[in-house]
Symmetry: none
Subunit: 226 residues, 4 copies
Amino acid sequence: MEKSKKQRILDSALELFVNQGIQSTSTASIANLAGVATGTLFHHFASKQALVLSLYSNIKQELSGAMQMRQPGLNAQEQAIKRKQERQQKQKLKQCDPQALRGQVQDYWQQALKWAQTNPDKLKFLQQIPLDPQFDANQHRELMMATMAFLVDLIKQGQEQHLLAPLPLELVLSFCHSHFLTCAGLFSEQPELAEQPDYQDGAFQILWQGLSPQTDTEFSTYKTGS
Amino acid sequence: MEKSKKQRILDSALELFVNQGIQSTSTASIANLAGVATGTLFHHFASKQALVLSLYSNIKQELSGAMQMRQPGLNAQEQAIKRKQERQQKQKLKQCDPQALRGQVQDYWQQALKWAQTNPDKLKFLQQIPLDPQFDANQHRELMMATMAFLVDLIKQGQEQHLLAPLPLELVLSFCHSHFLTCAGLFSEQPELAEQPDYQDGAFQILWQGLSPQTDTEFSTYKTGS
Amino acid sequence: MEKSKKQRILDSALELFVNQGIQSTSTASIANLAGVATGTLFHHFASKQALVLSLYSNIKQELSGAMQMRQPGLNAQEQAIKRKQERQQKQKLKQCDPQALRGQVQDYWQQALKWAQTNPDKLKFLQQIPLDPQFDANQHRELMMATMAFLVDLIKQGQEQHLLAPLPLELVLSFCHSHFLTCAGLFSEQPELAEQPDYQDGAFQILWQGLSPQTDTEFSTYKTGS
Amino acid sequence: MEKSKKQRILDSALELFVNQGIQSTSTASIANLAGVATGTLFHHFASKQALVLSLYSNIKQELSGAMQMRQPGLNAQEQAIKRKQERQQKQKLKQCDPQALRGQVQDYWQQALKWAQTNPDKLKFLQQIPLDPQFDANQHRELMMATMAFLVDLIKQGQEQHLLAPLPLELVLSFCHSHFLTCAGLFSEQPELAEQPDYQDGAFQILWQGLSPQTDTEFSTYKTGS
DNA sequence: CATGAATGAGACTTCATTCAT
DNA sequence: CATGAATGAAGTCTCATTCAT
């Protein structure tokens, strides 16, 4: 037995959830696929809902880690090096280097996409979960803010240095989140697209230009009512 | 009896679906809210799934109509005027007028957002439906292409005239779709944001700049592998 | 419209009953196949049960008529001839002619089988109906005795003249009935068998020998208990 | 709790099926009579259909065992004796002893009838099941052949030794089957008949004479067409 | 820790029949 | 005679969860 029963349950749940939907997947079928008894599932998770949340929390953290290139199997020395590099990066950004910001954002973006391609099921799960009616939207937002704190910092900095348009933070975050899920979903469903430069570059171009400051003197276009 | 029973069923279904989720809503509760017998629901819709699809199809068409400002209650004369205006618009666009394209896109965008604010339940339903596991993704794409054909034409034209970046069409459509749902959802959940110009303008700015051609000579940034 | 709606309903009912079973066939599907509205069915038949009974009664009489070779489309003159022949037949039988009895029985048998092959659906219906739980077994027996009265007479006569074994009448009738349904069913399901002389002859041979008097002095074989 | 819940469900199902018909019996009423929850029924049987099949299979095997006088409660020594007797029987039959065959057939016949009288419900069920429209006729035939293999052997042997008429095997089996169900049904519905020697003997006489070789030189009687 | 039989409320759907048109 | 929308009770089957072993 290579994996613990708990892990086997989590794996089976993910597989079935993304294929049949969360609500349509019975705890019995999860246990069955995991090769354990129905009761065993409830030893490890208080309820089906708890299993879903556990899965969600795991995945969110995994994605956050992947974006910051913190691979799980790093020893102490490597971690030290890594942390030093990050500090240097932050220094550069503080010095208002435009290319440094763009590079950093693009790094995050590519890491996130790479993770999504490596873990298509986990991506699908992230797309499904917010629409589960039993899922609390506030919980979602909080967890999001917590795991993506490093992104929030980066955006704020960019806006202060006028390297990014002064858009409301919540709008920017929602945009980043949905654009990531959309593009990753597109590449996941049609893997051939992920290998075409115009798709890869285009996806990031939309993100970056969308957040860039306005270059020309375009007038405000907001009109109330019709 | 003002509305037909069939319409009452559709209305009740929408209300319950967006509040409890599609799967969590029982056909019995729909019939109950509509004030009809359970059998009546199945007299008008072959199955719950058929009801969901019917609802979806209706809403998609309604949104499409709203974006083109085709209000349902227009008499013959008004329709004639409308069609004439549209023809003039198309003329302008053909003449490669940059402001005309931006204005047209912005019109669609604002109409869509306005519709979403007027019909928050229908918006929520549009967000929920594609993630229903029983929902066929292909069906979704086809219906989308069909109802949004006018948008596709506009985008193609803009790209040919180099007023829009030469991004892959599918990427553009996916982006527009998801950005609309995201922004509309944001404004729907927090209506106070919808009245702040920086949110309204910012939402469109992201869309427009995201699709605009690159102004400077930015190098391609696609890197393969890690 | 060639056939009356009532007849179309009867035809459709028969077709569906034998293919799906009586209980599994909904009145709606019958009406649908007949091309009439659901309400129309209940104009012509008070209930589904009444429809079933009407069908049964029709078929029983049709079989009875077919065995006596009373084709429906006979004019007055032909009927007169027919009745005269029958009277002659009865004369012969009265005169204790062994071959006449055998011939008469065989005629009935072959007519019955021929009818069954011509009307496989009606045969199937006759096999199904007695097992319908809502069907009264006594009603069945009475109708049977009434329509098959001519057979009862023939058997009694044969036994009095010692051309048939002195078996209890009810046993003989049950045997005839079940053997007919069995053989007809066999030939109906596997039509190729119906054309092989050994099956055709064999079926009748079993019937005839089964009812024949014992030739040798076989001792009684009834043992009580184990 | 004397019997397992599964067995109690089977017993209750049999009782209700033969009294109300298979289709008219709800799974809820079966569970209720068995004193278990509705879910329990579906824990042991995947569907109502599966329950019916399980019941059928059990009964068929029970009948087959009863005909061969294999009572369930036999110890090792008794079984040894039993098997020895059977071997002797087979020896006799090989030696072409006419009375041995008749005796053997009659033994089977009487055992079968005795079983039917002891288990009138199971008999009724055997009569009902083949006419259930959801019941696969092929499945039926195969199960029949499998459980009645010993009869098939006996018949073949009898025909080879010219102790039985050279009738097609399928015809003989169908006849035996239907004649058994008919006679057993008669005796079950009217138990007083079962105790009259003329009925008991008559039933077997029809079977035996029906299968006997033709004694006199009766000409073939098959006529094609009318 | 692990098992799996048992639970019972509730899901979707069917259907014979009625009745206003 | 004919229609078909409407009814609502009843049917089969599902499922998260519990608990004795």
